[in-house]
Symmetry: C2
Subunit: 342 residues, 2 copies
């Protein structure tokens, strides 16, 4: 993809980026400057972690019907949600109810709309569109990561009402954290403890073992990790050491998109139902502190077709995950489902 981008704004003045082809942007009066969102960052002394308070989010739009979808393109009568054009490929805009924002906590929250079609999912995108999305993530990583108030950029997707999705239109998000979040700290500590790149070592071990590999691409490998916390957890890892999307070749980005689509299609085939998941893209911090290795982690909350993996007392109160399945077994199921979904 040529990441050609048109920079415009939502009606209320938030940045709106249109990647790829799109219908003309209508002339609109310039938006009034927005008020800085009410956000607060507090340090939890007991757990040693930052907590973000975003009371403006409580009233956010919840599962509107098609006519009220804020992610759909403009209607023939010119009425529109967040995006005032009649058609587009991929759109990115600043979140209306952010958890991070300049002037408040620092950092940024963006929404990434994968398509102007309301129905479908990441899994059903045309392969070229999924590939384009990799380039958009890459561009956002570069631009957000260059900011002095951003330490870590995480593209992610919450898929399904089971994980709290409030809009059905296919989309993901990008959080640009003003500090290094605990999971990124843990990954850096892992590299220090082991004296080398942990995702490199784990991917090599999974390829050698083979029992937990669910998909094998030229540039990527997907597996249920040896110590998976979720029954159907999958990690998609670049085979070569690639700190971020910026370090990948065009071929690697294409292969990554194909691997992510293979996994999500396999998920939907597994129980023949839309499969809820969280997808999180882990890369190197952008504040220069520590290396990293591009990989995508999927956390699906199901432990069977109808049963959820709840995070309860043991996980929340002690920080210990209990997994009622064995990675070798769930990987075999997933491998079959991915092959079936082809």
């Amino acid at each position: 993809m040529d990441p050609a981008v048109t920079r415009t704004h939502t009606d209320d003045g938030r940045a709106l980026l249109l990647y790829g082809r799109h219908a003309p942007v209508p002339a609109r009066s310039p938006a009034a400057p927005r008020a800085t969102p009410t956000l607060e960052r507090r340090f939890d002394e007991l757990r040693g972690e930052e907590v973000i308070f975003a009371s403006g989010r409580q009233g956010r739009v919840h599962l509107p019907d098609l006519a009220g979808c804020p992610l759909c393109p403009a209607r023939p009568d010119g009425g529109h949600g967040e995006i005032p054009v009649r058609s587009f490929e991929i759109a990115v805009f600043e979140n209306r109810s952010p958890a991070f924002a300049p002037g408040a906590t620092g950092g940024a929250c963006e929404v990434v709309v994968y398509t102007d079609e309301h129905e479908g999912s990441f899994a059903t995108l045309a392969p070229e569109r999924a590939e384009d999305l990799m380039w958009v993530w890459r561009d956002r990583y570069a631009e957000l990561g260059a900011r002095s108030d951003v330490a870590y950029v995480m593209p992610f997707e919450n898929r399904g009402v089971e994980v709290g999705v409030t809009l059905h239109h296919p989309h993901g998000q990008i959080y640009a954290f003003p500090f290094l979040p605990p999971v990124a700290v843990a990954e850096r500590e892992a590299d220090e403890r082991r004296g080398g790149c942990t995702p490199c070592a784990l991917a090599a071990a999974e390829l050698t073992d083979g029992r937990r590999v669910v998909h094998s691409g030229e540039a990527t490998v997907a597996f249920v990790p040896y110590a998976a916390r979720w029954p159907y957890e999958v990690h998609v890892v670049l085979r070569e050491h690639r700190p971020s999307l910026l370090d990948c070749s065009a071929g690697e980005l294409r292969d990554l998109a194909a691997a992510l689509q293979a996994v999500t299609r396999g998920y939907d085939a597994l129980f023949d139902r839309p499969f809820p998941y969280m997808l999180c893209v882990h890369q190197a911090p952008t504040d220069g502190r520590g290396d990293g290795h591009l990989h995508v982690e999927f956390y699906p909350p199901l432990r069977s077709a109808k049963r959820f993996k709840h995070l309860a007392g043991c996980e929340q109160g002690a920080g210990v995950f209990l997994n009622d399945t064995l990675p070798e077994h769930t990987a075999a199921e997933l491998r079959d489902a991915i092959a079936r979904a082809g």
Copy 2:
């Protein structure tokens, strides 16, 4: 309570302890030795944490009706679930589907049945029974904590199907971990970082500030923490430095039980519905590594009467909690609800 205890066993040979008064234990043939459960502990290199694999739990009993309740006392015809006596006060037995067990991972998992009455909840127990429960927790902490394969003992309760409860009969659990779990490590690190007891300091600060205090007892204080991760999170803390239940006076245990019941009754009054929560009792490690301060943490998954706080991409993928409410506001709501529930 005189923690008088009768030691017997379930039909399949797991330890069963009857605390307080109970009907006679019927003569039964000695149970055959149980097979060691299939459990595995694996280290997640990337997160730096232990994960427990307990594939035997996948088939566990799920929300049986009253007639099939394994926690009810024996019926007139002698038929029974886990507990073969016609009446009891508090019963403790080894979990049929444990996450930790001697011979496998080390450690232990116990079920604590609060009453022989199927209906009700911790909040509706007679105050004396809630107080007795503190003595039972105390006794289990002492006995399990004395074992060489136990490093940390956590009594807890998952309340409500929303947090994955599989049995309605009022009960909690105790996990005796064979290692120091991450949350206990974080609490020890907090004490090291701050150079003193963190719960002592936080409780004192909350009492001074006052805005987040929801219940004040002679020996305890309950508050929504300054950096609460859950909208209606509450911590109940002993005012004096008490590493564990073993360090408490009888009066303190009585006051703790009263505080826990005040909070849970307030929860149920808040939205006039049974309020789901996780309740976790944090105490000093039993392996001698580090101090601790007895406190009880409640994590309720609701953010309004009908909306859930989902742990999604930001929490699971980055380890950062987003709270859509302000502790000062939710504390005011809870304080009113607790006063109302009286």
